[in-house]
């Protein structure tokens, strides 16, 4: 119940954020999508014991957060929400990987290093995906997908699913509310009511689908979802992509923290 309400807020929050008008929001959706994909790939391409060289990748989310003026807290909360699952799997590392090494007299387990590596990667990847949607929005993303020649059927379906999630979740919330009012002491829905409860919902869903489609046809829909002209890709958009991609490439090739570290420690010596 509170779960479903929270989900609704989350969707709506990201949706609202996507309607801001900052420099990042104005960048072409396709470029943002590509940047994100490259970023994710680079993040996950680091080995399981690598932490140091991963760190420069923090620059990307930080910059986007700042430039797009996004609130940090709600998005990071979402990341934490996913964390238990990752921790659940990651925690097995210290259990199975007992090898240790010494660093300045301290014993450090390799398993723990792997665990932290996973943890950081989780944070970075999840944040990157949320940032993409929070700066691009679903319509923008759909436009980008169409430019990538993803079949219109799929894109259309994606958009409709997205749109109807809010409507249906509200319906579910109302049904659950009615249920809990008459079954005050239960957690979850009792199995006797499973089928009919979900069944009612599905019948309504079917009828709604029918009506939605009819409403679309009545307004001249013939199969192509027109979201209005997306501007052409500008040089600036390309520069954005190129800039980030080269940064990612550099972090991938050179261990920047090590470089900085050697410089500093070298100076100290």
């Amino acid at each position: 119940m509170s779960n479903i309400i929270n989900s609704l807020y989350n969707i709506r929050l990201l949706d609202d954020l996507a309607r801001k008008e900052t420099a990042i929001h104005k960048i072409h959706p396709l470029m943002k999508l590509l940047t994100t994909v490259v970023y994710l790939t680079v993040v996950v391409s680091f080995g399981k014991y690598e932490i140091g060289s991963l760190l420069p990748l923090f620059f990307y989310p930080v910059m986007v957060f700042a430039l797009a003026e996004l609130p940090v807290k709600p998005i990071l909360l979402r990341v934490l929400f996913v964390a238990p699952l990752i921790i659940g799997i990651g925690i097995l590392n210290p259990l199975f990987d007992h090898q240790v090494f010494y660093l300045g007299g301290i014993t450090i387990s390799r398993g723990w290093v792997a665990f932290f590596s996973i943890f950081i990667k989780c944070g970075l990847t999840v944040t990157a995906a949320m940032l993409l949607i929070a700066t691009t929005g679903m319509d923008g993303l759909a436009a980008a997908l169409r430019m990538l020649k993803i079949p219109r059927l799929f894109v259309l379906q994606l958009l409709l699913t997205y749109r109807y999630i809010s409507v249906l979740m509200e319906e579910v919330a109302r049904i659950l509310r009615a249920y809990s009012l008459r079954a005050p002491e239960q957690k979850g829905v009792h199995r006797n009511a499973w089928g009919s409860l979900a069944g009612q919902l599905i019948l309504r869903t079917f009828d709604r689908a029918q009506r939605v489609y009819e409403a679309m046809c009545l307004r001249g829909f013939t199969g192509e979802y027109n979201t209005g002209g997306y501007e052409r890709i500008r040089v600036w958009d390309l520069a954005y992509l190129a800039g980030w991609v080269s940064f990612f490439a550099i972090t991938k090739i050179y261990n920047i923290p090590m470089f900085i570290g050697s410089l500093l420690t070298g100076v100290v010596k």
Partner: protein, 350 residues
């Protein structure tokens, strides 16, 4: 049982993406031929329905815990397998984007695990076979239960394999399987119960919906065979290309030697050739060497334990720690400066 980005390697992610894209493309083609345009919004709304029902936690009798609907099977039963698969794909896409369930790179894996097995294996080979003899409440129950359990078992096994191949986390095969499969047996039972309850309900209330879905679309054994063959080919080719790429760049031991030597060597270029190959291998999506050539698997496994661990010397680690801290501090600083500047600009404008 969503896979997360952080747990997969680019190779596994890429291969599964390719496989999923292949199945999706095939499904789209199938649907376009069928061209019942009304199905598009139906798929959209059904996707939303699955999404919404996943928020309903059903109490699992006797255990005090609760589970929710996976969705693949019910989508196939109500819409048909191709539509079901595509719908599942958009649900997972939205979950990845908005809820950080799974991730964009892992999307291929997730769609495959949750969509392919239930829509293209469990549905046609189990559910449809049983239901073909005619609908009845018992048969719906049996078919849904069996199909749901098997679909989820396959999916869970997929998760195990993908995780192992990715090698991001230290999980011995045995215990992992022993952990995953029973959990998903329980989830499968719930899924089966829910699916059969819903399908039985819809069948009683609006039989035309269900009967149309299963008999309207011709999903004979031939097309299934085609899908599976196509998939196998895609998987073999992509996997092959990647592994070939891997072995060319770093022939077995050499590769691991290179890794062991660590990064310092990179900064001391011994001629253009070496640098190039170093860059290439570092950028070739293969640090974890997910796809091992089968013949030297043993050896490879043994070597890998040693290899991906960077050489540790006190000097480099201190430098690494200092540098890491500096990098993070710089990132934070940059962010704060931008915020400050923006805020000041706004204040000036106001």
């Amino acid at each position: 049982m969503h896979m997360a980005d952080a747990l997969i390697s680019p190779v596994v992610g890429g291969v599964m993406w390719a496989a999923t894209a292949g199945v999706a493309a095939y499904s789209i083609k199938k649907i376009q031929n069928d061209l019942d345009e009304k199905k598009i919004p139906l798929m959209g709304v059904m996707g939303a329905f699955i999404f919404a029902t996943q928020m309903i936690n059903f109490s699992i009798p006797g255990t005090g815990s609760s589970g929710h609907l996976g969705g693949g099977l019910i989508l196939s039963a109500l819409l048909g397998p191709y539509e079901g698969f595509l719908t599942m794909a958009s649900i997972l896409t939205i979950q990845a984007l908005f809820f950080a369930d799974g991730g964009l790179l892992a999307l291929g894996c997730n769609v495959f695990n949750l969509g392919f097995f239930s829509c293209f294996i469990a549905y046609p080979l189990i559910y449809k076979r049983i239901i073909q003899k005619g609908y009845s409440t018992q048969r719906i129950f049996g078919a849904a239960m069996l199909a749901a359990i098997i679909g989820l078992q396959l999916g869970a096994f997929g998760v195990v394999l993908e995780t192992l191949f990715s090698g991001k986390t230290e999980l011995p095969f045995g215990p992992f399987v022993a952990l995953m499969q029973p959990i998903h047996l329980a989830i499968g039972v719930v899924e089966g119960l829910v699916t059969s309850a819903i399908v039985a309900f819809v069948w009683k209330a609006r039989p035309e919906i269900i009967e149309k879905a299963s008999f309207g679309v011709a999903i004979g054994n031939i097309s299934i065979k085609k899908v599976v063959t196509g998939l196998a080919i895609i998987a073999i080719i992509t996997g092959g290309v990647f592994s070939w790429f891997a072995s060319v760049n770093s022939d077995g031991l050499e590769w691991s030697m290179f890794k062991t030597a660590g990064i310092e060597e990179l900064e001391a270029p011994d001629g253009i050739h070496q640098t190039m190959s170093a860059i290439q291998s570092e950028t070739a999506f293969l640090p974890d060497y997910g796809f091992k050539a089968p013949e030297n698997e043993q050896e490879q496994g043994a070597v890998e334990r040693e290899e991906s661990w960077p050489a540790v010397s006190a000097g480099t680690s201190v430098a690494g720690l200092v540098g890491g801290a500096m990098t993070l501090a710089m990132a934070a600083l940059a962010g704060m400066i931008i915020r400050l500047v923006k805020r000041r600009k706004k204040r000036l404008a106001a």
